[in-house]
Assembly symmetry: C2
Homo-oligomer: 146 residues x 2
DNA sequence: CTCGGTGCAAATGCTTTGCAATGTC
DNA sequence: GACATTGCAAAGCATTTGCACCGAG
């Protein structure tokens, strides 16, 4: 089950860093992230934690999300707004986004050729890739029809 | 000369919108943008304007940059930080960025195949593209060598 | 002369920080 | 016990807003 694997990744990361501690808050936040669907912002995640009876502060949510990002369990995005958006990255293939500027809908897509060309381009500059983001802004089919 | 063409684009846009006025501030900011090299943030542009003796407020800079974005004279980006970055879009081909997470350097690149595949992907979803952004995060060659 | 635009400063909203209290190791 | 981590509230920043004044049309 994915939960155990994700826990293991986090635990390993904590140990690997030497001084990081395994606190209940960190695992509670990881839980909440695993249960999430699609994209979420800190506000929504915090709200879900609180209403589920988990006592955490927003500061801890921010800190932990950064930690989870470091071990590849969540991805952080910044579309057009001034809020950061996150999404669970565990057990999901690397993918990109089409963002509808009208209704805000986000369509995910994957494309091997895009990945390969990006690698080629980076290699040409001796640039070593850590992560890539492709965002296509425009109007989705639903909004075009209206 | 590019300045005249850019002025014309802005003037046309103002007229086209019906109620927008041609104020000296708007053209002064456009001037400053045209003189810019690479990416800049509001702070830097504002500072350049002030030190050049142009009296504008930051609010106007924000407003005008949005206006210039609407008529395609500047592009707005959001890399990882919490500041928006802009760059002059006039007379430049559509391009993308590799961002070095170590030194912050930004390498620009263009690639026709990437553009074409993006179009294909969007077409497959009946999504009509307005703009696209590709960001490759990682380590640049200079930093790798160190 | 009318209303859109500007400057200023205050307000907003996301994110970070400082510090005492807490609990992991 | 030592010290990383937490919670809380205050501080920071980038960006936006409200409003009186100004000036383009």
């Amino acid at each position: 089950m994915e939960k155990q694997a994700a826990y293991a990744i986090l635990t390993d990361h904590l140990k690997a860093q030497g001084k990081l501690r395994a606190t209940p808050e960190r695992f509670a936040i990881l839980d909440a992230v695993l249960q999430s669907q699609g994209h979420f912002d800190v506000e929504a995640l915090y709200y879900r934690l609180i209403t589920n009876g988990v006592k955490v502060s927003k500061a801890t949510v921010y800190n932990t999300l950064e930690l989870l990002q470091e071990c590849g369990l969540v991805s952080k995005y910044r579309f057009a707004e001034n809020t950061s958006r996150y999404e669970k990255a565990f057990g999901r293939p690397h993918h990109h986004h089409m963002i509808c500027l009208n209704c805000g809908d986000i369509i995910e897509f994957t494309n091997d050729r895009l990945e390969r060309i990006q690698e080629e381009v980076a290699a040409g500059e001796d640039f070593s890739i850590q992560s890539t983001t492709i965002q296509i802004f425009g109007t989705c089919s639903k909004c075009t029809k209206k």
